[in-house]
Symmetry: C2
């Protein structure tokens, strides 16, 4: 797959984090304190919940500060505009997924079977998603509404993430682990569709992220259906 | 699955169409002329393209009328507000899918194997989607931004559609066509995730809707991976 990055490459330094605190006193090289980190995390979590509920256009900075019981000026100290917060939320969703996936693959090592790598990638995705429900809901709700420059930067990050999945499936095909005759590129989309769609239905009551990931993997790897169609089994009375 | 509707039930009369022309001279029982239908279809197609590009909040009725070279008053004659157009676009996407799926299942008859029914459902979904790219892109982009009463009505329709898929997979499980031990409810989501995610990547250059549907079905039914993990095959030089 030309132009795609290697799945076993070390995670690159991510773009995007420069957008936080751009115009605040923290924008220089000063170390961000633990307290500031905590405040910013709380702002992002609350903002994500509001974005998920109201969408991009209807959300105002003051909605976020009101919800946090903080003055909007204090909020602006950390994030100058709504765009900066929105960018940070959507990029963080992908960055967290990307970092976790790279870490998982690094831990497994390049010689691990593709089956095990893809299974671990699915498990990592489900764990990260379960830990960031608000961010993921906000992501789905605002990503298309973002200003074009935020969107462009975000899509770069997203493609970096998707390329790793593509590489994993291509590697499976090259090693003979993908069933012969299947398109690696469509197989990648079937796996991605399965994990990404979980944002619409996954709730902790259904199962732990690990259990759901294991079930998805069983289905995707081995298939949903029994081997033979069962033409003999008919519902209702037999016809003759 | 308690409360879900039967997949072999005849398509119900759909909600939602009453929203078109609500306040126009066509709102009464007068038959809508073929010409009016054509104008309305053109309005919806253009509106869908603009919604897909600009999202819900930034789209104005005048953007749509300008693009069509028609006066905004003429547009209002057919659709009184942006909400009415948006509702019609998102509901039409699901209604078309729902009607086509019911028709497909009716043509097959209830005794057809679940494999064949689900394969046909996937094919129908891909055909309908390929024929309505603008509507589907608009749907994804505006559905979360819709006013709450439009959204509620839309979700009712959506659940009706999703319930049919759920019933198909439950039937497969009851007939022993689903691989033993798999969760019918997660299997439903794996299939739905696979077909719905296609809106993010499907382009006609990749293949016909029928070819893509056949490939998805092969993958979903029989699985992506070869039966045995191949622990012997290692990339690069063997370690010892």
């Amino acid at each position: 797959m030309p132009g795609s990055r290697r799945s076993d490459a070390a995670p690159q330094k991510k773009t995007g984090s420069k957008r936080v605190n751009r115009a605040s006193p923290l924008a220089s090289n000063r170390k961000i304190s633990r307290k500031t980190e905590g405040v910013q995390a709380a702002i992002l979590e609350t903002a994500a919940q509001i974005f998920a509920r109201k969408g991009y256009y209807l959300t105002k900075l003051s909605d976020i500060s009101d919800e946090l019981g903080m003055h909007v000026t204090a909020l602006r100290y950390h994030f100058t505009t709504k765009d900066v917060i929105a960018a940070e939320i959507v990029n963080r969703v992908i960055r967290t997924n990307l970092d976790s996936l790279c870490q998982t693959l690094e831990d497994l090592g390049p010689e691990t079977s593709s089956r095990d790598k893809i299974a671990a990638a699915i498990q990592t995705y489900m764990r990260v998603s379960a830990a960031n429900k608000a961010g993921i809901a906000a992501h789905g709700n605002i990503v298309n509404q973002l200003p074009v420059e935020v969107k462009d930067e975000h899509y770069e990050l997203l493609h970096e993430f998707l390329d790793i999945w593509r590489d994993l499936v291509s590697e499976a095909a090259a090693r003979g682990e993908l069933r012969p005759g299947l398109s690696p590129s469509i197989a990648t989309q079937v796996i991605l569709g399965t994990v990404i769609w979980s944002r619409e239905w996954y709730r902790p009551e259904i199962g732990t992220p690990d259990n759901i990931a294991a079930e998805m993997t069983r289905m995707l790897f081995g298939g949903l259906m029994t081997d033979e169609p069962s033409p003999a089994r008919k519902p209702g009375p037999a016809r003759d």
